[in-house]
């Protein structure tokens, strides 16, 4: 939600910058995602101490300015500057429009910022010279604190804090954080003498509508809103419509209570009935759409039918237009759950429904309608005619404060007086160890909720960190056994993959699965997410198809698969390329030995040509295997201490993967036995910036290479971020590598 810093000042006199306010809210209440500001906080007030000519440019001068901390050197082109003036200094990092100020060299002289004109500050189009500031401004302070410039905070209000969906809500929160007073708008007209004649309201369901206020105002002049009102709404992204509608929007943004305005002459006999929808009722709302109303949704009606969906949107049939003379303003409390239910059913969410769902300030309804009345009298020359009130009295909620439990949960020793003070600063009334919850709070039920209020205002940064008991438990979870299987597979050369649990229509036809055997997603946003996998194999085959530039593909995945009856954890393996058969057979022997499992039960399948084609795999031989992990883990030999898993502490430098195809080269070298293969590997990696992956795939000594010599072989991949790697470029890089290995390790390229 957008909160205007300038608008907030109507209710609380802030002496801190927008950034400081944002930081305070973020730490104590809810995050401020961004601040949109016309004048950046890095533009500060500075004093010109000295002006020197520029050695290399006649039109430029060098100003030495005091930024409140030190003297900095600024190169300036304007000719209205003089020593002693206070001027706006955009420091390094300041944003001016799209430009960010940095340290620059201007014709051989360094400049650590920029002095600004009116236009650069976004104040006017005046670009004739540097803006000269009054001398009562404080050096070093952000200029935004002095000039009448707004900053708009984008505040992320969590669903529990509906009370802060308004400027007064945020001002109230700030008053607790900053220990300051806040005030409500003053009501200027006298409403006490208004009667309810010529206005009738019948609230049929008081559970869904505990409070209803209606105010009739006659002889309004519907027109464009005055500038100040339009500016306020525009500053937070609301489009002005006309003065009446704008007033209701202003009151909503001010108090969080969304009033609604009806054209009184369009309401039959000026008689409003608040009731639940009957069978098959329809209404066309202000957005021009027709809605069929679910039964039991709450409506505002006249004797002809619905004129608004309560708390969500008004009806077209009672809309304010340019010929409207007399109006009825509604300010009501609607049941949160009921509004949410109707809004969900209709797929219609509005600023009003958003607030009603999260809970409005139940004590603000009368203020809201009077405030709307005042403004309409003021800007639409309306005459207050009559007022109607329907209120079900509700007891304010009281809970015990439980000082001890609060301190115990937080791990603090805040004294009772301080706890009381904090609660009172948030609008809670305190007496006899009990507190009355303010009518605007809908998220406080228990002492734990109070603990949060106390803790956050006290300051989470002040809470002492307390060590937890470290008594270890035996590693008995099946997790360790499954992870151990992964280590066995990695040892045999397999790469672990995680695939989506989803299958598309296309996937199940490629894999010849039957849709009726699969669990189906009811509401997929994307067609890829229609079914849940019943096997790991389709995903693993997709991995093989994905990697044509790798001759060998050895993948495994451990993950859950689903049928209508059950969810089981499986191990899937795929192997293709040179030695695939050997490697997969080895891994099976290895697994069956470590897991005490009969290897006859591990069935390897070879994919047929048409299956490969279906999965878009261009490799000739592909083997797959899938087995329930339970079969492997249940007899796994585990010592009392449990299994120790391999935990890597290697510092990995990840290189982004290009969208374009890489080039791959295999190189073998003959080197002395004493040379470490890992050293050669790093030298290859560093020989050209296009190399992003180097993998050792063979290392053996043999007399046929000479005494104490060995063969080392590497796969090397190269890529370009903006296009495909060509053969010529790859060959160039290869040459470079060969030369390096020769120079550094006396390595000879083999064949």
């Amino acid at each position: 939600m957008k909160i205007s810093y300038k608008w907030l000042q109507d209710y609380i006199k802030l002496d801190k910058s927008a950034q400081e306010i944002a930081d305070a809210l973020t730490l104590v209440s809810f995050p401020v995602e961004s601040i949109e500001s016309k004048i950046d906080d890095k533009i500060i007030i500075a004093e010109i101490k000295e002006i020197k000519p520029h050695p290399n440019a006649d039109r430029l001068r060098i100003a030495m300015v005091d930024n409140g901390k030190e003297i900095v050197q600024i190169v300036c082109g304007a000719n209205n500057i003089e020593v002693g003036q206070y001027v706006p200094l955009a420091q390094i990092g300041a944003k001016i429009g799209e430009m960010t100020i940095s340290k620059v060299d201007l014709r051989g002289v360094e400049s650590s910022g920029m002095l600004c004109s009116d236009r650069e500050l976004g104040l006017s189009d005046d670009h004739a010279g540097i803006k000269i500031l009054p001398k009562d401004y404080e050096l070093g302070k952000p200029l935004s604190q002095y000039l009448n410039s707004d900053a708009v905070l984008d505040v992320e209000i969590t669903p529990n804090r509906g009370d802060c969906l308004s400027h007064i809500g945020v001002a109230r929160e700030l008053s607790a954080i900053l220990d300051m007073k806040y005030s409500l708008p003053e009501i200027k007209n006298d409403y006490s003498k208004l009667k309810s004649n010529d206005l009738e309201v019948i609230v049929e369901n008081k559970e869904l509508c505990p409070q209803y206020f209606a105010l009739k105002i006659n002889n309004v002049e519907v027109k464009e809103s005055p500038e100040w009102l339009k500016e306020k709404l525009l500053s937070i992204g609301h489009h002005p419509i006309n003065n009446i509608v704008d007033v209701t929007n202003l009151v909503m943004q001010e108090l969080g209570q969304p009033p609604h305005a009806f054209d009184a002459d369009k309401v039959k006999d000026q008689k409003i009935i608040v009731r639940e929808a009957g069978e098959m009722e329809k209404v066309t709302t202000l957005n021009g759409k027709e809605y069929r109303l679910p039964k039991e949704s709450l409506l505002i009606t006249d004797e002809n039918g619905p004129i608004a969906i309560a708390g969500i949107m008004g009806g077209k049939n009672s809309e304010i237009d340019s010929s409207t003379k007399n109006i009825i303003i509604e300010s009501a409390e609607f049941n949160r759950k009921s509004v949410r239910k109707t809004s969900k059913a209709l797929g219609l969410s509005t600023d009003a429904s958003y607030r009603f769902e999260r809970g409005i300030d139940r004590g603000s309804l009368e203020t809201a309608i009077k405030r709307a009345g005042d403004l309409i009298v003021e800007i639409a020359s309306g005459e207050l005619k009559s007022i109607f009130k329907s209120i079900v009295k509700t007891e304010s909620k009281k809970i015990n404060i439980e000082y001890k439990k609060i301190n115990n949960l937080l791990g603090t020793s805040i004294d009772e007086a301080e706890i009381n003070r904090i609660l009172q600063s948030l609008g809670f009334e305190v007496s006899d160890d009990k507190t009355t919850i303010p009518l605007w709070r809908h998220d406080i039920f228990t002492w734990e909720d109070l603990a949060e209020e106390v803790g956050r205002i006290y300051g989470y940064g002040k809470i002492n960190h307390l060590e937890v008991d470290k008594t270890e438990q035996p590693k008995k979870s099946e997790y360790y056994q499954k992870e151990h299987i992964k280590d066995l597979l990695v040892e045999s050369g397999f790469t672990e993959s995680y695939n989506y649990v989803f299958l598309s229509e296309q996937d199940i036809s490629s894999a010849k699965l039957k849709s009726e055997d699969l669990l189906e997603v009811a509401n997929p946003l994307q067609k890829e997410n229609k079914y849940l996998r019943s096997s790991l194999i389709p995903g693993l085959l997709r991995n093989v198809a994905k990697n044509p530039s790798f001759d060998q593909n050895f993948f495994f995945e451990i993950g859950n698969v689903f049928s209508k009856e059950k969810e089981v954890n499986k191990l899937g393996i795929v192997a293709s390329g040179r030695d695939a058969k050997n490697i997969i057979e080895n891994v099976i022997s290895n697994l069956s030995e470590k897991c005490d499992f009969d290897k006859k039960d591990m069935i390897i399948s070879e994919l047929k040509r048409d299956e490969l084609l279906n999965h878009k795999i261009k490799k000739p031989i592909v083997y797959v295997l899938e087995i329930e992990t339970k079969g492997l883990t249940k007899n796994m030999k585990v010592s009392d201490k449990g299994l120790d898993l391999i935990i890597s502490d290697k510092n990995i430098h990840y290189t982004s993967v290009s969208q374009f195809p890489p080039a791959a080269r295999d190189l073998s070298f003959v080197v002395d036995n004493a040379v470490k293969s890992s050293d050669i590997q790093s030298t290859i990696s560093e020989s050209d910036s296009h190399i992003f992956l180097v993998e050792l795939f063979d290392e053996f000594s043999s007399d046929k290479f000479g005494k104490n010599k060995k063969n080392v072989a590497y796969h090397i991949w190269m890529q370009k971020m903006n296009k495909a790697m060509t053969d010529d470029q790859a060959n160039e890089i290869t040459k470079k590598i060969v030369e390096k290995i020769k120079n550094k390790f006396s390595g000879e390229l083999r064949g």
């Binding site: 590693k475 050369g493 989506y500 649990v501 593909n553 890597s648 430098h653 990840y654 993998e695």
Partner: protein, 227 residues
């Protein structure tokens, strides 16, 4: 030839190892779960706006893909007596459009500690201990208020990186309703819980720029994580 573990597995192992030293057990719940465990049991009723915080994959049989590993908190709590100390790693699912930062499928790990007199100060200590072990002694973290229906008070935890605060995870004191749903008396026991977004933290650790790489099966990506 050497194979290698997926970077997420490597991260999770390290994370689990840190909690193992603090005495945490490991529990893995089902990925397909029901509305009760995923939402109601952790204090997210159907008629509350907090339901809208997560876009859910509903299945045609009325069940759902869990939206968070917190779905397994009550499952574990029902079968174990305090002191409860457990981490729950696993995949969770969000029905949303994907881009470099958003995925339908991510790994999370919940940690839950329930005992007599568990305090906010212990939650803070545990998280600081974890992040210093994982990212180095200089790691700075801070706590600020947030809202998750299954905890009260609730916190967002940030770390300071490259000159700004970076949101790490949500945490809090287990809500008394959740403790009650485990069959444990919230008058006698309290606890803390937090949920680590493993994909995001793995990306942070290795400098991975696009979350979609993690499930791409692209060997150019995967093979860079050879230990």
């Amino acid at each position: 030839m050497k194979g290698n573990l997926h970077p997420i597995t490597q991260y999770l192992r390290k994370a689990i190892h840190i909690f193992e030293e603090l005495g945490f057990d490991v529990f893995e719940g089902p990925e397909v779960d029901n509305e009760w465990y995923n939402f109601d049991s952790v204090n997210v009723p159907a008629d509350h706006p907090s339901r809208d915080m997560q876009d859910t994959f509903w299945l045609k049989d009325g069940r759902l893909l869990r939206t968070h590993t917190s779905a397994s908190q009550v499952r574990y709590g029902e079968k174990n007596k305090p002191p409860i100390k457990v981490v729950v790693p696993g995949q969770v699912f969000r029905n949303e459009a994907t881009d470099a930062k958003h995925e339908t499928t991510i790994f999370q790990m919940d940690a839950v500690y329930i005992d007599k007199n568990v305090k906010v100060g212990q939650l803070f200590w545990t998280l600081e201990y974890f992040f210093k072990k994982m990212y180095g002694k200089e790691t700075k973290i801070r706590f600020r208020p947030s809202f998750f229906p299954f905890v009260e008070p609730g916190f967002e935890v940030d770390t300071f990186r490259n000159g700004e605060w970076f949101e790490l995870l949500g945490a809090g004191m287990v809500h008394p309703n959740v403790i009650k749903n485990m069959g444990i008396d919230p008058e006698k026991y309290s606890g803390f819980a937090f949920g680590l977004g493993i994909d995001r933290l793995t990306m942070l650790r290795y400098g991975i720029d696009d979350i979609r790489h993690l499930r791409s099966g692209d060997l150019r990506f995967l093979k860079q994580f050879q230990g």
